[in-house]
């Protein structure tokens, strides 16, 4: 065999070997679908087992009490239609509105982050970082307390209901995270694409809309859905501020049932199950799309 100078072909080495590096790593924000990934890997069996354990434990613990778990389940059964149609539906409505507003603002902010104008880029970056790194509950409080409950334009008094403020409050962090998704996805398109388009006499705007965004769109979908699932889970936060979401209405229901401690487990388990049933398919779908688009290489 022909010897290549400097390369020993007969012996192996004990020294650590530098493995070839992956160069196609996509920016973190694009692939941050960790939450839905975790959720999608839960099985229905896990959940059923957890539910059964919780129920039987509470039944045993309260065996001496006159108000039984069966009474509590009966109460839950009676309240269920109300909680679903008035409570949970409202959570979904909030999540959809927040997502629409957050996506529109987030896309604008994300595009601002890749603007050629330095001042606009810095401005959008600052907004993005600020709202990405703020606790959602604090943002909610700030919006709730800082916004007027009504304002007057041209003699018309427009009320601002609490739920609308809650939507605005939740839109801010969603906006910031979507801004990062957009920025990351655009930057993950190789620079050669920009250069090739430029060589074909495309302007920057034409390149962005015709070449870059169509390619990055696919990469944005899974993380976008991931944020939707996270957001939906976070909607009960608005109950703290008096918005009639499922959590608030459940507490009201339990109160009207006499605040029996046996009510707690069935009611809260019911809420958990509702969110699970809603979010689990989203998580599965996200995972499916992510594999399909092959974002992780």
């Amino acid at each position: 065999m022909k010897q290549i100078p400097g390369i020993n072909q007969t012996t192996t080495t004990d020294l650590p070997v530098l493995k070839p590096m992956r160069t196609d790593v996509v920016p973190n924000s694009v692939t941050s679908t960790g939450f839905t990934r975790w959720l999608a890997e839960l099985s229905v069996w896990h959940l059923s087992i957890i539910t059964v354990v919780i129920f039987s434990f509470s039944t045993l613990a309260n065996a001496a009490n006159t108000y039984s778990t069966f009474d509590a389940l009966d109460a839950l059964w009676r309240w269920m239609p109300f909680l679903l149609t008035k409570g949970f539906f409202f959570n979904i409505l909030i999540s959809v509105l927040v997502m629409i507003i957050g996506t529109i603002l987030g896309v604008l902010l994300g595009l601002g982050q890749i603007s050629l104008f330095g001042w606009l880029r810095k401005f959008c970056w600052t907004i993005t970082q600020f709202f990405r790194n703020s606790p959602w509950l604090v943002l909610l409080f700030v919006v709730m307390l800082a916004f007027p409950f009504q304002f007057t334009v041209f003699g018309f008094t427009v009320p601002v209901p609490d739920w609308l403020k809650a939507v605005i409050g939740l839109s801010l962090p969603i906006m910031a995270n979507i801004s990062e998704i957009v920025r990351g996805a655009v930057l993950s398109v190789p620079s050669g694409q920009w250069e090739a388009a430029e060589s074909l006499a495309y302007t920057r705007t034409q390149t962005l809309w015709k070449i870059i965004l169509p390619q990055s769109f696919k990469r944005m979908i899974p993380p976008w859905m991931n944020w939707y699932a996270i957001l939906t889970m976070a909607t009960p936060l608005v109950s703290i501020l008096g918005v009639n979401d499922i959590l608030k209405l459940s507490r009201d229901a339990m109160e009207s049932e006499g605040n029996q401690p046996e009510l707690l487990v069935p009611f809260y388990t019911f809420i958990l199950l509702l969110f699970f049933i809603y979010c689990y398919p989203i998580a599965k779908w996200t995972q499916y799309l992510e594999n399909k688009f092959n974002v992780r290489g």
């Binding site: 694409q193 430029e198 074909l200 006499a201 070449i211 390619q215």
Partner: protein, 258 residues
Amino acid sequence: MTDSTQQASSWTPDQPMVSIKEVHKSFGDLEVLKGVSMDVMKGEVICIIGPSGSGKSTLIRCINALNDIQKGSILVEGLEVNTPNLDKLELRKKVGMVFQQFNLFPHLTVLENLTIGPIRVRKLSKADAEHNARKYLERVYIPEQADKYPSQLSGGQQQRVAIARSLCMETRVMLFDEPTSALDPEMINEVLDVMVNLADTGMTMVCVTHEMGFARKVADTMVFMDQGEIVESATPEKFFTQPETERCKAFLQQILVH
């Protein structure tokens, strides 16, 4: 703007199509072009060779205004490239470029890759643009791949599509930035064949390449660059048989003797 159009109108075909004078280019502290001058006549094929980091690619990217220059002048048919109010659209109608990594648009079919430029820039109708595109696909020997996506093609085929895409713009000069360096060895020839064919039809070409056989065959002028300077420039015959400078001799020694 008015300045450059005036210059453009004063250009005549007997003048160099591309005229590069005393071009300086730095990336931060790193000076990559140290006063490069070169003329490209109409129909001339120039092959630029040299060790990596010698500034070959940067030079041709500067012609296409993908990199800006700090000092000097680049005239393309009388259009000054080194000016802040450069009409880039006008420049790109004159200059086409083929990249080492092909840079085809993966979300578009081959035909769409070939037509989006002409439709937008040369204002062709879709039908005309597609007719043209098929003509040029024929010329790069892959008319049957028109409706596929780039990822379904081999590297050699992709690079030929990239050449066709540039041809569709019907530019005056074609720049090739190491067009075969990213290809598997068995695909290099199919791309070089297309380029030889192109040179034979009288296209003005500036190629950065490592393919000496190809260069020797098609080049009217060989240019050897090292450390940001043009060290030697000669006809291929003289260049490969009697190089004048030591640096050039040493480089040819390294690549030709195995």
